[in-house]
């Protein structure tokens, strides 16, 4: 099996506030995931362009098909073009990766809080069965 990339939320303008993404199934063999949210770049400066637009993300894991959730971690990031590891030396996304072992009945979800928005972007979760 290979990595499996799923869309966490589609490209759109998102208003200020907190939203929880739908629970995403995790395959038995997946040992890690990479959550990415597209950033502003020279190639497409319509995505998350303002440094004053803040994004807080908390990622949670369920090991009982969504009955109970525990936090894995998260991040805070602001918009605008940022130096990074992408074309033109710019960060193409804000990303978060961690190991989750293996197991049955696992789900992932993210709680996303936007302030200083609206925020225009899209997000993905890539499930990884090898590192």
């Amino acid at each position: 099996m290979a990595a499996l990339k799923n869309q966490l939320f589609p490209l759109a303008d998102y208003a200020n506030g907190t939203q929880v993404t739908p629970a995403m199934n995790v395959r038995v063999q997946d040992i890690a995931f990479y959550l990415s949210i597209r950033r502003c770049t020279t190639a497409d400066n319509t995505i998350w362009p303002n440094a004053s637009t803040l994004l807080d993300v908390l990622v949670e894991l369920s090991e009982d098909a969504g009955a109970n959730w525990r936090p894995l971690g998260g991040f805070t990031s602001s918009g605008g073009i940022s130096p990074g590891k992408g074309p033109n030396g710019e960060a193409p996304n804000t990303g978060f990766q961690t190991n989750i072992g293996t197991g049955n009945q696992r789900r992932l979800r993210a709680t996303i809080t936007i302030s200083g928005g609206p925020l225009r972007s899209e997000g993905f979760i890539e499930l990884l069965d090898t590192l």
């Binding site: 990415s36 440094a51 525990r70 990074g84 960060a91 804000t94 990303g95 978060f96 990766q97 961690t98």
Partner: protein
Amino acid sequence: MTITAVGSQEGGVTQDSASAVSRAFGSNVAAGNLIVVLCFKDIGGSAFVAGDCTKSAGTATVGTITLDKELRFDLGGGSDQVAVGAWSCLVTGAGSCTMQVSSAAGTYFGLGTGEYNATLGWDASRLEATNTGSSATDNWTAGDTGNGTSAGGALFMGVLASNGSSSKVLTPDASFTQIFEQEDASLHIVGSTQRRIVSSGTTDAANWTLEAGSGWRGYAAALAVYKEVAPAAGIPIARLFYPEYKFFMI
């Protein structure tokens, strides 16, 4: 007088382009235990300071978080800097716990955390030794923190940061247990966190070996050594039993 890593509490996360990253412990942390936070970063530019590490969520309470060792190092040219940091705190009240490290906007992070128990406990004098190591040589193959020395049982914690443009194999020290690593420099900051628990006085460094070939720059590394509370001074056995000894001699 034994130090142990608690359950499966050790682990880490990679974060690309953010101003803060956090990792939650999988289980509740226990009062009296030691939390150690190891972080490596690039593109943030600045050195770590004590206030960069906080308990950002959870019902547990922790004591003062101390920055036990940090190093910011220029891998070359003045514009490619990485930094490593090691923080610790005592758990003062059991509960859930998320630890966070902050930096400038757009920072790439690697964050490793762990919880450690000591049968005699930990206190404010827990930091016994520190050291740092670094190299500005591209495609280094052997990196280390420099030695630290413990007088007795201790917890050796090592963190390394590098940077580059490709994925390479980074191998931890054979005497250590890896907590977390990131090897893909094409997408992330790369580095590793590892620890060694010793039961008697030890001098050691945290070492790493890097797959030969191009694609990575130099490295920065730091070591922090933590000791448990010293055992209470006892009454010498000979003095304790001397009265009885004298009685039987009469």
